[in-house]
Each structure stands twice: as structure tokens, then as C-alpha cells.
């Protein structure tokens, strides 16, 4: 298998509403990623576009719609989609292209323009639910997360304030992120605990916001990187992905087994047998604060029920022993579903090449893991990257 490195990344501002069309957002992120890698569209062999349900942008066949802005014109081009999991999965798809030897350079572009959907993207989220079993009950998407969070809290006796610490940490971390939508240097645990109750135990500040935005990364073969003498690169050392049962009411809501399986696959490939020792920092998917905890356990970076303790002890702070979401995550930077790649793959690249600016982890880091979560609470995608 060809060794693959990330050589460039770019992203737009993440905001509730942006004026650019989806394809224009793709262009801006892609152009930045190509420029940062020091290459042109002509150097790109293949393109992967990652984007969530068409219903958010309100454009059917969104992959087709986004192709010109994504640099796909007259190139081998594929859209991939695994719900929120796309945030990391599209990079795995890009990695196939290069690892297989088919491409020297693959471009991965993710986009979401959720503000098109009126009055709120919530209205089309309703269509995610099973039409016969769930939809007659008029569910709100937040319910499913509230139920998972409640089960997690109840089984391990986790207190809400320990979960709220995640939201505080990430919104504070996002202060250093130039694209952040909800950075807040002064937010406290009490702010989170006193925010509006949406569907208990989920409160307003436990949730990441819907956003518009795009992100892009460039993947290249070791050969290409050497020939072009590219200095800023981070190697993709392991990938894994896994999906759980389609019947969500039959699932174990306490431990994300699908994330653990994806992580084990990625770790084996990256020759990691003791993740807690061998991984220096993590960018798990954090659309809700409890999900960061859930995912740290799924990524085997914390024992079951232990992630809240690590958070309380400061282990996961940017200057802690195992920094988690140094980017500011979805909670701080924003949640344009697939485009969250900017904080997951993009952040790993920027941290591992020392380009994270104000967000740079103060101690040296060699290996990071990013993970995204999607479809209907059942999909895990994991990428391990090394300096």
C-alpha cells in the first residue's frame, strides 16, 4: 500500500448564515487547501466530495451541484456520505484513492449550507426518523441524543456538571480558531447548566450550532511528497470505520461499540497497541458535549465511564496530558455537518505540522486521532495521523 500524507487544508468561516453558494464555499476552502499545499488543480488526480443529506442545502444531487467548486471538473469524482461521520470518512475515501496507487494526489472537499433550510434545519431532520415506527410520534432530533445522554449518565452516575465541562473547554479552545462561530473565553459550567432546557438532559449550551461552511484537505503519495519536496505533511497511519444496527432502539446506548471497532481497525493499521500511551491528542466528534466523552471511551482513550473524570482533572485541556478538541470542536467552531472535517482532519494536520497558531498544543505531539460520528447515532469513522 502506498504511504499517504495530508499536505494541505483549508476552510471557510463557520457561521449561521453565509452569503456564498455551496459551490462558492467549496471553491474558497479548496483554493486555500491547494495553495497551502503549493499545488494547483492540475496536480489533482481524483476528487472526493463529502456532504450531508441533500435536504439541508435544498439541492438534489448535491455532489453533482458542488463538483465545480470542489475542483472536480473533468476528473474522477465521487460523493460520499455517512451522515456526520462524513467529517472523517471522506478523508478515508480520499485515502483509498492514493493508498491503492490509483492517484498521486486526491482532493477531499466537504460542504454544508444549512441556512438554506427554513425556518431551521430541524424541519428536515425529522425525515431521518423511521417513517412507520418513529415519525408518527412527532419526534424532535434532539430527543435521540437526550435519551442516549441520559442512559450514559444513569449507567455511570455521571453528573451534568462534568459533562458541561466539555462544552466550556471546547468553546474556550475555539477562541484561538479564526473560523469559530461560538467561541467564548468567559463561559462557565454554570452558564451551561443554566442554559435553556431543550430536551432534558440536553440544554442549549450542550449543543453545537447549525452552520454554513466548507473545508478541504489534500492527500498525496509519499512519492509525490518527496518529489515536490513538500515539508508540511502529516502521515495517515491508520483508518477505520464501522456501523451499528439500523434499529436504534435495539442498540447499546451506553458504549459506542461501532466507534471502538473502527478505532481498533485504525490502531492495528497504525501499529498502536496502547492508544492511551501512543496517542498524544484527539479530535473526537463533539456535536454534543456528552458525545466527546462517549467517543473518548469508544476510542479507548478512557475506560468506560472514566472520560468525565479525565475532563474534570484537566487531562483533556489543551495543555493537559491528552489534549482533546484543541480546535474548539463542533461545540466551539460550529457544526456544518460534513465540513467539520476542518476541525477533525484539518486540525490534526495543522497541529502535527506546527501550524495551529494560537491553538498549538504547547508540548510536542507526534500522533493524533480524529473521529466522526454519524448516520443515526451509529456510525464511527476514525483516522490516525502522525508527524
Amino acid at each position: 500500500m502506498t504511504k499517504v500524507g495530508v499536505i494541505g487544508a483549508g476552510m471557510t468561516l463557520f457561521r449561521r448564515r453565509l452569503q456564498e453558494t455551496g459551490k462558492e464555499l467549496c471553491f474558497e476552502a479548496t483554493k486555500m487547501a491547494l495553495d497551502s499545499a503549493g499545488i494547483t488543480r492540475g496536480d489533482v488526480d481524483m476528487v472526493v466530495c463529502g456532504t450531508a443529506p441533500d435536504a439541508f442545502d435544498g439541492v438534489a444531487m448535491k455532489g453533482e451541484y458542488l463538483l465545480d467548486g470542489s475542483g472536480g471538473f473533468r476528473k474522477p469524482y465521487t460523493r460520499v456520505f455517512t451522515g456526520g461521520g462524513t467529517g472523517v470518512f471522506s478523508t478515508i475515501a480520499g485515502w483509498w484513492h492514493v493508498a491503492s496507487g490509483l492517484a498521486d494526489v486526491a482532493l477531499v472537499v466537504n460542504e454544508e449550507k444549512m441556512s438554506s433550510c427554513q425556518p431551521h434545519p430541524q424541519s428536515v431532520f425529522a425525515n431521518i426518523w423511521d417513517p412507520i415506527l418513529d415519525r408518527p410520534l412527532k419526534p424532535n432530533l434532539v430527543w435521540i441524543f437526550a435519551m442516549e445522554m441520559n442512559r450514559y449518565m444513569s449507567v455511570y452516575g455521571v453528573k451534568k456538571e462534568d459533562i458541561a465541562r466539555v462544552a466550556v473547554k471546547n468553546k474556550r479552545n475555539a477562541v484561538g480558531h479564526p473560523c469559530a462561530q461560538l467561541a467564548d473565553p468567559n463561559i462557565t459550567v454554570d452558564d451551561v447548566l443554566n442554559s435553556e432546557v431543550m430536551a432534558w438532559p440536553v440544554q442549549r449550551l450542550d449543543i453545537s450550532p447549525p452552520s454554513d461552511g466548507a473545508s478541504a484537505v489534500v492527500l498525496a503519495s509519499e512519492d509525490f511528497i518527496r518529489k515536490r519536496r513538500i515539508k508540511d505533511r502529516a502521515w495517515v497511519s491508520g483508518v477505520g470505520w464501522c456501523i451499528d444496527s439500523t434499529m436504534w432502539t435495539d442498540r447499546d446506548l451506553v458504549f459506542p461499540e461501532y466507534v471502538a471497532r473502527a478505532a481498533k481497525h485504525a490502531y492495528k493499521m497504525a501499529k498502536i497497541d496502547d492508544p492511551r500511551r501512543q496517542i498524544d491528542f484527539a479530535e473526537p466528534y463533539d456535536p454534543f458535549d456528552y458525545k466527546e466523552l462517549h467517543h473518548l471511551e469508544g476510542l479507548l482513550l478512557a475506560d468506560k465511564g472514566e472520560a468525565p473524570v479525565l475532563t474534570r482533572e484537566g487531562v483533556t485541556e489543551r495543555d493537559g496530558k491528552m489534549p482533546v478538541c484543541p480546535s474548539g470542536g463542533l461545540l466551539g467552531v460550529g457544526n456544518p455537518i460534513a465540513a467539520t472535517m476542518g476541525m477533525k482532519i484539518g486540525e490534526l494536520f495543522w497541529q502535527l505540522t506546527g501550524q495551529a497558531g494560537k491553538r498549538q498544543i504547547p508540548h510536542e505531539v507526534h500522533t493524533g486521532v480524529s473521529q466522526a460520528w454519524g448516520d443515526l447515532m451509529q456510525y464511527g469513522s476514525v483516522v490516525v495521523m502522525s508527524a
Binding site: E20, H120, P139, C179, D212, T249, D250
Partner: protein
């Protein structure tokens, strides 16, 4: 690179820019109507709801009783074998107290909703439903509950044939 870029792309709009037409825009309201076929397993499931019963499918290979019922076992990847009735009592696996309705509108009186695993099915096999005859203060994970059915004449073959799950009363098991 984040340190080197001075201008990050993206033109932010305020709500007013959009809703007061300060930027040009095009509106569209799709009118999409569907009829979802319930399929073989769900058709029988809905028919039995109209009869006031829950039905499941068994898989003889893994010896599980699968609920909601399905015509194939996703784990053994073979057709399931038999229909079997299960009970209308169960246990609350998890729940939420929702102040949001389906459109994310705020509501004063919260909806109690959660997952019930039903007695007679394999462990943790259940469905989502509402809870009633309890308050947000009494509801807890592990609570024993029973389906409160609509009167037979009002049942339509829908999950709404169950009004909600309520706490077991004295003498009920």
C-alpha cells in the same frame, strides 16, 4: 497555516440581510408527498397493534426474539423463522423530558418520551414511545411500564394505537 492566513473566506449574513431581502435570493417550497410501504414485517406489526398486541420475529440460529420484527436476522443474515407475541409490559431503558416539539418550537408542558424494552423480546429490544400517568419528577430509567392502548374502535394500525406507556399498577406484573 492558520497562523499565516490573514483573511479567512466567508461572507457572514445577519438574519435581517436574508429576511429583509438585503441580498438577492430565490425561494422554493417543495411539495413532496410520500406513501411508505410498511413491508412484510411492519405490516403485520401494525395489524397486530390494531389488535392491541405486540408481535416479534424469532431467529432460530441466534435464538433471539427480534423486536421490532424483521423478516431477516441482520446478524445471522438469514430469514427469521416465526412470529411470536410478546408482552405489552416492559422497562424504561432511557428517556428525555422534552421542551421542544417536532419543529423545535418551545412548549411549556414537557413531553416525556423514551425507549421501552418489551418483556418477552430479547434483552434491550424495544421501541420509542411517550410516557404518561407520571411526571418528569417520577420518571426514571429501570421503571416498569405497561402500554395504555386506545379503545379498539379507535385503533388504526399505527404506533399511535398505544397512547403511551404508564407505570405498572398494583397487582400488574
Amino acid at each position: 497555516m492558520t497562523a499565516r492566513i490573514s483573511r479567512w473566506p466567508g461572507i457572514e449574513l445577519r438574519a435581517a440581510d436574508l429576511y429583509d431581502g438585503k441580498v438577492t435570493q430565490t425561494r422554493f417550497h417543495p411539495d413532496a408527498k410520500y406513501a411508505w410501504s410498511a413491508g412484510e414485517a411492519m405490516s403485520r406489526f401494525l395489524q397486530e397493534l390494531q389488535n392491541g398486541r405486540f408481535i416479534a420475529r424469532t431467529c432460530h440460529k441466534c435464538e433471539r426474539i427480534l423486536f421490532p420484527p424483521r423478516m431477516f436476522c441482520e446478524e445471522c443474515f438469514r430469514p427469521t423463522d416465526e412470529w411470536t407475541y410478546i408482552h405489552d409490559t416492559g422497562t424504561i431503558e432511557t428517556f428525555s423530558v422534552s421542551y421542544l416539539d417536532t419543529d423545535a418550537k418551545r412548549i411549556a408542558e414537557p413531553i416525556l418520551v423514551g425507549v421501552v424494552s418489551l418483556d418477552g423480546a430479547s434483552p434491550r429490544m424495544g421501541m420509542m414511545h411517550y410516557f404518561g400517568e407520571m411526571t418528569k419528577d417520577d420518571i426514571r430509567i429501570g421503571m416498569r411500564v405497561k402500554a395504555e392502548w386506545k379503545p379498539a374502535a379507535e385503533r388504526r394500525g399505527s404506533v399511535l394505537d398505544v397512547r403511551y406507556f404508564r407505570p405498572l399498577r398494583e397487582g400488574e406484573r
